[in-house]
């Protein structure tokens, strides 16, 4: 079974369409200037409806993680044990992603990670993270 492709609504569509072009977009409030995730119609800090999309530099640290041994749905069963992590982006917001690549199963809290993209079919890509070399 194939890994799932992203689901679209008016909040998520710009995010996932940018990901197709290997860009990680987050929203920033144009009034209080705070960045936030997930994207939404207004700023959750000051309720301004003037928000901008900004591109993340794609670096961050692992806030927490787990190795999933029992997949929650059949699409993920073929993946074997895999890491789900909460990554604090350098810009501030926290995102969820898998840690992929070399040494992924040895991930630890505080590890520095960098952005990569995983293809999911039909041109869809999802932002993922790899552990940084240093």
């Amino acid at each position: 079974m194939n890994l799932p492709v992203p689901a679209l609504n008016a909040d998520s569509k710009p995010f996932w369409e940018a990901a197709r072009a290997s860009r990680l977009l987050i929203k920033q409030c144009d009034a209080c200037m705070r960045p936030f995730f997930p994207p939404r119609h207004l700023c959750p800090f000051c309720w301004s409806d003037k928000t901008l999309w900004i591109e993340s530099r794609g670096t961050g640290t692992i806030y927490s993680y787990t190795v999933i041994h029992r997949a929650p749905a059949p699409e993920f069963s073929g993946r074997g044990p895999y890491v789900v992590a909460l990554v604090d982006l350098a810009e501030g917001p926290r995102v969820m992603a898998n840690i992929v690549g070399a040494g992924a199963l040895e991930a630890a809290v505080g590890d520095r990670v960098k952005l990569c993209f995983e293809e999911r079919g039909e041109g869809w890509k999802v932002p993922q993270f790899e552990r940084s070399a240093s």
């Binding site: 993680y65 999933i68 749905a73 926290r94």
Partner: protein
């Protein structure tokens, strides 16, 4: 003076359905069985019920569950609703029942929840439908996280910040199973050891199978009425002294930290209304969907200092007969878990303890009890304080 629900209402009847695998009853049937037992326990007639509150069902395709239950039970109440706040729902419903009675919207409210999670859907369907319900459908689903995965990330961060150990986590299911063995209706009673928990199948590191709640067929019900009326109905009404709530986020990616949740604010609201504090509680029924959860709830509810919940369990303080008996019926880890009914059964056990009906698991001198329910990923929180006398 601030409006308060303290001492205004009481629970006058409790009922628990058959628990475990009950394939001959639907989710509605289980709920009806629990409701009938609660009504019989109260010694009331069906015609006395003029309000119904319930939760939701993921196993059966009913949208307006409150209305569906009125139809199923042949009730035509003047007050009815169904509320969806995950595991926090039953405690919130108790508060809503009390508020409705205080406001004159109803005089006698049946609060009931139930689902056939064990036999009404396959285990795989149960796991995936829950993950879909809790993970963000647009931003989390592509990453294959699970509900155990959410709580595992909490446990991992907690271990990182406080140095809590794998062994300390394992103490939670072990003592909870000991309590379950003393309840005739528990789903799982076979004794387990620390080694069993640590050697059980990995689900989402650091959590193993025995760190995770059961999937049961179960329902529960209780009946709430005014304190004045309760004294004429029940030999030993159980009074609602305090209720507090706090709702902070839905999805784990939006939790500000994974070591502090709205449990604390919810508990403080309940303590404030009751005019009591943690030292006044004789027992606690905490939410225990995963072994990490009662540990952090002990801390946030003020029963021990931050970071000490694990050593509290490891020292045996949560056992019946010890400092603060926790989950004396066996909790969701061993007694039963079926959607909103996990927390419901904690409320029922608190009432049973306060009226002294618990046999070999009875806590001595149990006069005041705290129950904490949470839903989502510690997203919605509700704490209630119950007592055998008005205070």
């Amino acid at each position: 003076m601030e409006f308060s629900l303290r001492n205004r209402t009481a629970i006058v009847g409790i009922g628990e359905s058959d628990i475990g695998k009950v394939p001959h009853l639907s989710g509605l049937g289980l709920t009806a069985q629990a409701a009938k037992r609660a009504l019989d326990d109260a010694g009331l007639a069906v015609s006395d019920i003029d309000g119904l509150l319930t939760a939701y069902s993921l196993t059966e395709p009913f949208f307006m569950l409150g209305t569906v239950l009125c139809e199923y039970l042949g009730l035509k109440p003047r007050f009815c609703s169904s509320l969806v706040a995950g595991g926090a729902t039953p405690a919130i419903l108790l508060g809503h029942a009390a508020a409705a009675i205080a406001a004159g919207q109803a005089s006698c409210v049946l609060v009931c929840t139930g689902e056939n999670r064990a036999t009404g859907m396959s285990r795989d369907t149960a796991v995936s439908s829950l993950a879909a319900a809790v993970g963000h459908p647009y931003f989390e689903y592509p990453y294959g996280n699970s509900i155990p995965g959410c709580y595992a990330m909490i446990a991992r961060r907690y271990m990182h910040e406080y140095g809590i150990t794998r062994e300390q986590l394992a103490h939670v299911p072990v003592v909870t199973r000991q309590h379950a063995a003393m309840h005739p209706n528990s789903h799982m009673k076979a004794p387990i050891t620390i080694e069993d928990v640590i050697a059980s199948k990995p689900i989402a590191s650091p959590l193993n199978l025995l760190d995770c709640c059961l999937i049961s067929d179960a329902a529960g019900a209780f009946i709430v009425t005014s304190a004045d009326r309760a004294r004429h109905i029940a030999d030993r009404p159980v009074y609602l002294l305090g209720v507090g709530e706090c709702h902070t986020h839905e999805y784990i990616v939006c939790a500000e930290t994974l070591v502090h949740f709205g449990v604390m604010e919810s508990g403080q609201g309940a303590y404030r209304m009751a005019g009591l504090g943690p030292d006044d509680m004789d027992l606690a029924q905490l939410y225990d969907c995963f072994s990490i959860v009662p540990i952090l709830e002990l801390e946030e509810l003020g029963f021990c200092a931050p970071g000490e919940g694990g050593s509290f369990y490891a020292a045996g303080h949560a056992a019946i007969g010890a400092r603060l008996p926790v989950n004396t019926h066996g909790g969701m880890l061993s007694h039963a878990h079926a959607g909103a009914t996990g927390g419901m059964l904690g409320i029922i056990e608190a009432v049973a303890q306060l009226i002294g009906e618990c046999g070999e698991r009875q806590v001595r001198d149990a006069h005041t009890a705290l129950v904490h329910n949470e839903g989502g990923v510690l997203s919605s929180n509700c704490t209630v304080i119950l007592a055998d006398q008005p205070r």
